[in-house]
């Protein structure tokens, strides 16, 4: 059944081999002009935002602020990464915010009241996420209730659950140093550099190996020069980031030294790579796109649609749990508002700004990170501006619109050319 039949015929479609870098660049420009923008609009939006804030507030470009950006945006970004999976199916999870709250509360309770070691508590929190995701997914896939309603109900129920767990209006402080470190401490500078070297080397190796394997098979592969350019760009950009984060950023270096890459950065990076691999290079990921693109076609191809749906909700809720742990770490406490207020909307917003479609079938985990960066930069920059409550809301709304507008106008031009 799954053996492939040998049909005659020469391979005509895999044409030109290994084009030159100049050729590749021209092709890229053509693609962008033609409308296949990829991450470009989100990156453009980010650059515009950063420039504006940097001009308005010089403090924006300090190394301390750069480090702050990562810890401030981490929780939302992590939740958004999980949401991408659900959004790819054309579903929504309104409860992701409070699910992160519930998991954070589980972490806090096991840590404080039960006094278990931190790794057990982290596992308990993530297990809670898995259970939540399974329940939500089963209700959506098996019972067939629209995900909006299921997760709206869960949104309410989890709000109650957090209240029960943290005992009606109080809050639980987290004093475990490992947990608190996640969002508040930094890697020692040498470790930052070591990690940097590791990442760049692995990236280069993967790129080279892949090109070699493809050209051995006679399939089109990227030219050496392009690969070199890519690796070089990564090395320079990441190197710059590590360098800046390793600068002394304490306001009072005599009192305390503050240097290094925040611990959340490798956490996000690892998850980004893992989930990207899952989505792009495994059958499971392929099936997620298929179900989101055309559920009926996926079903006819024998894909277990229900199981894929449930898995996506499990991933979403587990990532919410990770986000909840980071949020709990950052606040060093859990209260009934953890994961509440605008967390969910910001997380979905991050995914959508990054380019994920609410209708399913289109999106990447990287989108969540880029969109999360936009949201974090807006919050960070607005914090520096020092506006009053109402003005802040107004300006934040407008800035969000602006960032999305850059993106939309870019894509609009593409659509006008007949592409979607």
């Amino acid at each position: 059944m799954s053996k492939v039949k040998d049909l005659p015929g020469e391979a005509i479609v895999t044409a030109t081999r290994s084009p030159s870098i100049g050729h590749s660049f021209v092709a890229y420009v053509e693609r962008v002009r033609g409308g296949d923008m990829g991450a470009l609009p989100a990156v453009l939006g980010l650059i515009v935002l950063c420039t504006v804030f940097a001009i308005a507030r010089p403090a924006f470009v300090t190394s301390i602020n750069f480090a702050n950006l990562f810890t401030q945006g981490a929780a939302i970004t992590l939740i958004a990464m999980g949401l991408v999976f659900v959004l790819l199916l054309g579903e929504i999870d309104l409860s992701a915010g409070f699910a992160s709250g519930v998991c954070a509360a589980v972490l806090a309770v096991t840590l404080t009241s039960a006094g278990l070691p931190w790794y057990v508590c982290v596992l308990a929190a993530i297990a809670t996420g898995v259970v939540i995701g399974t329940a939500l997914g089963a209700l959506v896939a098996k019972v067939g209730i629209p995900s909006f309603v299921v997760t709206l109900a869960a949104f309410l129920a989890f709000q109650g659950l957090v209240l029960v767990l943290v005992d009606e209006g109080t809050n639980i402080s987290i004093r475990n140093s490992v947990i608190v470190a996640i969002a508040n401490e930094n890697l020692p500078p040498w470790l930052g550099w070591a990690l940097y070297a590791f990442c760049v080397l692995v990236f280069a190796a993967v790129q080279l190996l892949r090109a070699a394997k493809r050209s051995r098979r006679g399939l089109t592969s990227d030219p050496m020069s392009l690969i070199a350019a890519r690796v070089g760009a990564l090395a320079v950009l990441a190197g710059l980031a590590v360098y800046v984060l390793n600068l002394e950023r304490s306001r009072n270096p005599a009192l305390v030294s503050l240097t290094g890459v925040p611990i959340v950065v490798p956490v996000i990076l690892v998850l980004l790579v893992v989930w990207t691999l899952v989505l792009r290079r495994t059958a499971f990921g392929r099936h997620i796109y298929a179900v989101g693109g055309n559920t009926e076609a996926a079903r006819r191809a024998g894909i277990p649609v229900d199981r894929i749906r449930i898995s996506a909700f499990v991933i979403c809720s587990s990532m919410a749990a990770v986000g909840g742990i980071v949020a709990a770490s950052r606040a060093s406490s859990v209260d009934p508002n953890t994961g509440g207020s605008s967390v969910l909307l910001y997380a979905v917003g991050a995914a959508v700004i990054g380019g994920t479609s609410l209708f399913g079938g289109k999106g990447r985990v990287l989108d969540a990170v880029l969109g999360g960066a936009v949201v974090a930069v807006i919050e960070n920059g607005m914090g520096l501006m020092g506006y009053g409550a109402s003005v802040k809301y107004l300006v934040t709304g407008s800035v969000l619109l602006l960032a999305a507008g850059v993106d939309a106008l870019a894509r609009k031009r593409a659509a006008a050319a007949g592409l979607r």
Binding site: K5, L7, P8, Y289, R300
Partner: protein
């Protein structure tokens, strides 16, 4: 000779509308069976029942003489039944290779083996005379009507299946491509598969089929050897449900 695929007395209603009435149908290994009928006769519905897309209301499906339960496309796939549906069922957001291997991706450990899939897809497509596809990494949404159809056919014949059902596969195809597909249909049957071909084109039907089954308003009017009937007889069966002593005996109301 027992048929490889047989359906007996299948009933199917959509709400109050009864679409299939006790339909009998059989397809034999090594033969091309043409399924013909007017628009709305129920051909696609019959195929979807066999493929597990629609649950059947009554009757049974036999595979190689044994009654089988087909509860979903997965079951059909596991029996070795491949179907090209009329509404092509491709994922617009995936590219050609991804669509062709959907649900049966080749793996290299945990990860996908993109390279070998790309190679194989290219081979299969070129055997179907597709010349205008710019790249097999093109998204399916950007394909022309005929190109989509070719992808769907290529997807179905890629696998070592036992029964291949094609629902109007050549409807959108050009002259050369149609010839190629008909040749492929013949070749598949000759290698021992049971092939079911749905078509409105009588020339094509007579060119490749061994048997012809004619549906009329949800009822099986007749299943005959192609050699035993004429062009005109088949058209009569399609349009009125009977032709001489062939076809439905009693008057039927839709």
């Amino acid at each position: 000779m027992i048929p490889l695929l047989e359906v007996r007395g299948i009933d199917k209603s959509f709400g109050p509308v009864k679409v299939l009435h006790k339909v009998e149908f059989a397809a034999y290994a090594g033969e091309v069976t043409a399924l013909v009928g007017d628009n709305g006769a129920g051909k696609s519905t019959l195929v979807k029942c066999v493929g597990g897309i629609y649950p059947i209301d009554g009757g049974e499906i036999l595979f190689d003489g044994n009654p089988v339960q087909v509860h979903g496309p997965r079951d059909a796939g596991e029996l070795g039944i491949e179907i090209v549906y009329q509404d092509l069922a491709l994922c617009d957001n995936l590219d050609i290779v991804q669509n062709m291997f959907l649900g049966r991706e080749r793996k290299n450990g945990l990860l996908l083996d993109e390279d070998s899939m790309e190679e194989l897809a290219a081979q299969t497509l070129s055997s179907l005379s597709v010349r205008t596809v710019k790249s097999i990494r093109q998204q399916v949404s950007s394909l022309s009507g005929g190109q989509r159809q070719t992808v769907a056919i290529a997807k179905a014949v890629l696998w070592n299946s036992k029964v291949v059902i094609l629902d109007e596969p050549t409807a959108a195809l050009g002259v050369a491509q149609t010839a190629q597909v008909l040749e492929l249909v013949r070749r598949l049957a000759d290698t021992g598969l049971a092939v079911v071909l749905i078509s409105h084109n009588m020339n094509d039907v007579f060119a490749v089929s061994d048997r012809i089954a004619a549906l009329y308003l949800g009822r099986m009017a007749a299943q005959v050897k192609t050699a035993d009937v004429t062009h005109a007889q088949v058209v009569e069966l399609i349009t009125s449900g009977r032709s001489g002593d062939l076809g439905l005996k009693n008057g039927v109301t839709p």
